[in-house]
Structures are given as structure tokens and as C-alpha cells.
Symmetry: C2
Subunit: 334 residues, 2 copies
């Protein structure tokens, strides 16, 4: 059975069967021309949309359908995490190739719904259309946050220290392992690629503690995130390449192929970690956060006067440092 | 110059150049990981997402790019209209073929921005990705309404009269004229197809006056809308085919091709009019509305006991009536 064998209302019923009952703040749910919700009281609303496109962001040949659904929501939740917001609701817009097996659609929705449930996010509506080309999953999310807890890209100041959550490069190595059909792919890397965990608790705690001056997620790589935060905040940055928390299995993978693991970890995408800047006096607060979150949280550099973004490594420091490699460009590369 | 010649930040800057400055309730606008807005006070939020896909919902060979942008937003605004909501904000997610000329992208955004400005809707954020296949435009909108003004599909009762705004079939005839390269396409039909006008004022006034018991837009045709409202409201319906306000140029077009104009007007999509049910005693209120809106507003049938949905025509009335033709299925037809 493929999706073209089913009517639109069959497909909607199938999707709905994977979603929990609507919470009380949903006044009109799936099935009308639009959803109607009560806004959360005393909160600002944080809105983001992200699409994942077959052939650009995922490859159905080696990505299980539940991982596709997981990813479609995770990339959006990562944007909420980086703003310090708590997820509230989502709208799901699917463009489906007619030949997509109906049980793949089920698994896509199941993967998305499982991640939604873990973060108390409710899917209030959506749209279905046929695609004459690739599978496209467009997810819009709304989160909520108090005004003083919002994190942006533009608050970093000269002298702020630069931190990053988690480990880098694992997702890129995992993707390479899957795409090349590596015989013994490292589970830590493959898992990181297929099921990225948005750093929602970290983002929320950073916002609540007012520990961060700026925050951004690493969807397009550390090289991109450092540049974007530096540009938005009108500062420069120096990253200490020797301090970068590169995933050990990714170091092995890239080194075995003659690639520089640090360059790979900086320039490749799909790490849904958070880049954070903070005043040096917040160091103790961040160390406390690290232990209460149970997530690595590593100091990797400092914001500087000017507009250069450098990578220091070994003896190549100060004026001898190279520019930080650029991030990943999903628009121009696949 | 095509979009693949431009960087993602160039493209975003280009899009932003067509958008007005953000209103004061936008706390963080385009350029961060997510948008941040203050919710409207004392209102419910009405949320909808709709995608238009090249080859399914539009054909670039005969649809000017500004009409594509107009349509992408109009289909969403029509959903807000049918709920009785006032538009507030939108998020715009574009999947762009690399070969799309940059000035076509400009025109798409210009068409969307012009419609947004006329309805005081602000684009607060979005997403850009490359498409290896068709152009896909996914728009999420949020509108606002007071709780008692919300219109749904499910409130129709036996004995309610069925009304429709505007004229039917013009958009379908316009599409046929463009697709077949007709030498003298009727401007009224072509305009209706290319630049559908969402019935926002009508929806708002129906909600405010509490004149309607149910409302839905005709995106997939009258045949679909009557069925959906009847099913959601657990009533049947009888439509008087002789009363249907079919666009005169569309009557001429379909009749000249040997097609039944009433069947075409009922079963074809793209009429972004509103189907409304109301108690018979609301008739005077609706007549007043009609003159204050300057929009045709025609009584076309009645809600009945049972679950059949019939089309009466000429002498074929009562038990002799045929089933109402089905609406248009965007999922299975192109």
C-alpha cells in the first residue's frame, strides 16, 4: 500500500492515530480549516519553521523513516532550545511522493510524535499534499519563554567566553559511515546522526539563569555558528582548536581517511548542539549547569575586538592563527 | 542570475527587502534562530499551514511569479477567513530549485508581500532550502479572534440555510483558459485564478455578527465543502443547482466545450469563496452584510436531516435529485 492508494482523509486519520489527545488549551484541533488555541499567559511566543527535503537533508536509502520524522521535528526544537524557549505546539506540512509506502508514512509520524511527546509538544494541525518530486517535511513550531529569558545571537560582548554543549563531529562521521556503507559504523556516531537530541533543557536553564549573553544552535556547523554570533554581536572570535570536544569515534573515523578531525568537526553540519557566549564571571554558574544537566559543556574560545574569526591550534596562535573554517551550506551542498 | 548563484544570506537579504519594518509586537524578527512575538491580548490564536507545490498547485509556464507568491499566502488567508479570524503573522518556508531566476524569486516575494500588506499581516520569519525537484512554498499563518467569534465546520443544524460568497467556477475556467493557451481568455476568469481574494472581511463580519452556524472555504470546490460541513455537523444537505452563482464567463467557457457549467463549478477547486450555514431568521442580517461588504452572497440550499448531500436541478427535485458532485482532490489529481 502506498500513499497514492489512500484518500486524503484516510491519510489524515492515519496520522492522527499516532498523536495523543489534544490538551485543554486546544480549542479546535485537526479537522477544521485551521487550529484554534489559547495563548500561554505571561509568555512571549517563539516561532520557527524548518523544512527537510529528501536528497538535500536526508537520504531515504539509509535513513529509517522514523529517523526522518525525528529529524524533521528535532531541527525545529533545536531552534527553540537556542532561544531559551519551552516547546508548545507544532504544525506539520507534508509533501508526499505517491509511491511512498504507507507504513513509511506511519513510521515518519511515529518518530516525530515520539520526540514531541518527550517534550510536551502538541501537533495541532497541518497540511498534506502530493509531491511530484522529493519527500518534503515542513514543521512549524511555537515555544514560549518569559521576556527576560530569551536568548539571541546578538548579545555577545568583547571578553565573553565561548562555550559549546555536547560533542562535535559525531553526526557528520555517522552520516559518512551510513552513506559509504561502512562495515562497522560506530553506534555513537550513527545514533547522533539519525536521532539528534535538541538541547532543550540546556537552553531553558541558560535562559532562566541568565548565564548566557548569546546562544545559537550548530545546525550548520560550529564554523557557521561562531561567525553568525560574531556578526550579529559585532565582535570577533578566537576558537582554541585544541580544546574542541570532538567525538572520539569521529576523530578515529576522520583521521583514518586522512581528514583533519578538527576541521571536519568545525565545518560539517548536523550537530544540534548549542554555541553559548557568557561573561567570564559566569564560569562557575556554567560549571554547575554542566553537572546538573549531565551534558558536556566546554569552554572553547573568547570573543574579541574586531571582526576576525580565528582558529588557534598548537603553536599557531595570535597573529599566526588561521581563519576558522566556514560552516556547512545546506543551500549549495547536499 | 539564478538562486544557486547567491548565498543563503544574499537570498534572505533579498527577501527582506520586500518586507516592511517589523511592528512593535515583534521582539525578535528575521535573522535569529527563531522569531519572538508578543501574543495579542484577549484573543484566541488561529493557526494554519498550507503548501503549494509546482506541478500540483501551479504551473510556472503560465503562472507569473507574483501570482505564485500571492496564491501561497491567499490559500492560507482563506483558511483564516473561514474561521472568522483576523490575520496577524506568517512564516515563509521556501524550497527553491537552483535554476530559479533570482528575479522570479523577487516577484514571488513581492506578490506575497503585497497581499500581506493589504491585510496587515507581518512575515516574522521563515526558512530557505534548495529543492532538487519542484518549487515548494509552505506558508504558516496565525490569525486572532475572540472566542465567541470563531467559526467552525461543525455547527450547522437541520433547517439551516446554506449560503456562498462571490461567484463560482471562474478560477477553474481561468486555469483552463491559461493551460490551453486560449486566444482570448476572459480577464474575469484569469484574474480569479491568478489572484484569488481571500474573503477576510466577510469571515470577520460573519464571526462578529454571530450570523453563521458553520463556515468553510471552497479551496477544494463547493462539492467538497458542502460534504465536509455536512459530515462535521452531522446533517445532510440539498443544494439548489439553479441558484448557484456561476461566473457568467465560466458558464460560456464550459458550455462551449460541452461541459455542464454547474457540475464544473461544483466539482472544480480554486474558488476561495466561503460556504456559510445560518438559521433562516439570520436572512435579513446576511442581506445587510451583503450590501455592506459589496460581495455577492447567495442562498443556495438547506441543511437536512440524514446524511445525503443532493443537487436539485430543474424538475429533478426531492427523491429525484442526484448526489452533489464530489469536490476536487489535490492529493490525487494535478
Amino acid at each position: 500500500v502506498t500513499v497514492s492508494d489512500l484518500s486524503e482523509s484516510d491519510l489524515i486519520a492515519r496520522i492522527q492515530s499516532f498523536l495523543p489527545p489534544a490538551p485543554p488549551w486546544v480549542v479546535v484541533g485537526i479537522g477544521d480549516d485551521a487550529a484554534v488555541v489559547e495563548p500561554a499567559k505571561q509568555r512571549l511566543e517563539v516561532l520557527s519553521v524548518d523544512a527537510i527535503v529528501e536528497g538535500v537533508h536526508f537520504d531515504r536509502r539509509f535513513t529509517p523513516p522514523d529517523a526522518i520524522g525525528h529529524r524533521a521535528l528535532a531541527v525545529n526544537l533545536s531552534d527553540l532550545a537556542s532561544m531559551g524557549a519551552a516547546p508548545r505546539l507544532a504544525l506539520l506540512s507534508l509533501a508526499l511522493p505517491g509511491a511512498l509506502p504507507a507504513d513509511h508514512l506511519d513510521a515518519i509520524v511515529r518518530g516525530l510524535a515520539a520526540l514531541a511527546a518527550r517534550h510536551s509538544l502538541h501537533v495541532v494541525g497541518g497540511n498534506l499534499t502530493r509531491s511530484p518530486g522529493p519527500l518534503v517535511i515542513d514543521v512549524t513550531v511555537m515555544g514560549v519563554a518569559k521576556r527576560r529569558q530569551i536568548l539571541t545571537r546578538s548579545g555577545a560582548r568583547v571578553g565573553d567566553e565561548i562555550w559549546v554543549t555536547g560533542r562535535l563531529g559525531g553526526a557528520a562521521a555517522g552520516l559518512d559511515m551510513l552513506a559509504s556503507g561502512a562495515p562497522d559504523p560506530a553506534p555513537s556516531c550513527v545514533e547522533r546522526y539519525l536521532y539528534p537530541e535538541p538541547r532543550l533543557r540546556a537552553g531553558l536553564m541558560l535562559g532562566r539563569n541568565r548565564a548566557a549573553t548569546a546562544c545559537m544552535d550548530l545546525s550548520d556547523g560550529l564554523g557557521d555558528a561562531v561567525r553568525q554570533v560574531a556578526r550579529a554581536s559585532k565582535v570577533g572570535a578566537v576558537i582554541d582548536g585544541d580544546s574542541l570536544p570532538v567525538e572520539p569515534e569521529a576523530v578515529r573515523w576522520f583521521a583514518a581517511r586522512g581528514d583533519d578531525p578538527v576541521v571536519a568537526a568545525v565545518s560539517r553540519g548536523d550537530d544540534y548542539e548549542l554555541l553559548v557566549t557568557a561573561r567570564p564571571r559566569a564560569r562557575r554558574l556554567l560549571d554547575t549547569l554542566k553537572s546538573s544537566l549531565g551534558v558536556p559543556f566546554t569552554r572553547i574560545g573568547v570573543c574579541t575586538d574586531g571582526d576576525t574569526v580565528l582558529l588557534e591550534r598548537g603553536a599557531k596562535r595570535g597573529a599566526a592563527a588561521d581563519p576558522l573554517p566556514a560552516g556547512f551550506d545546506h543551500f549549495h551542498q547536499s
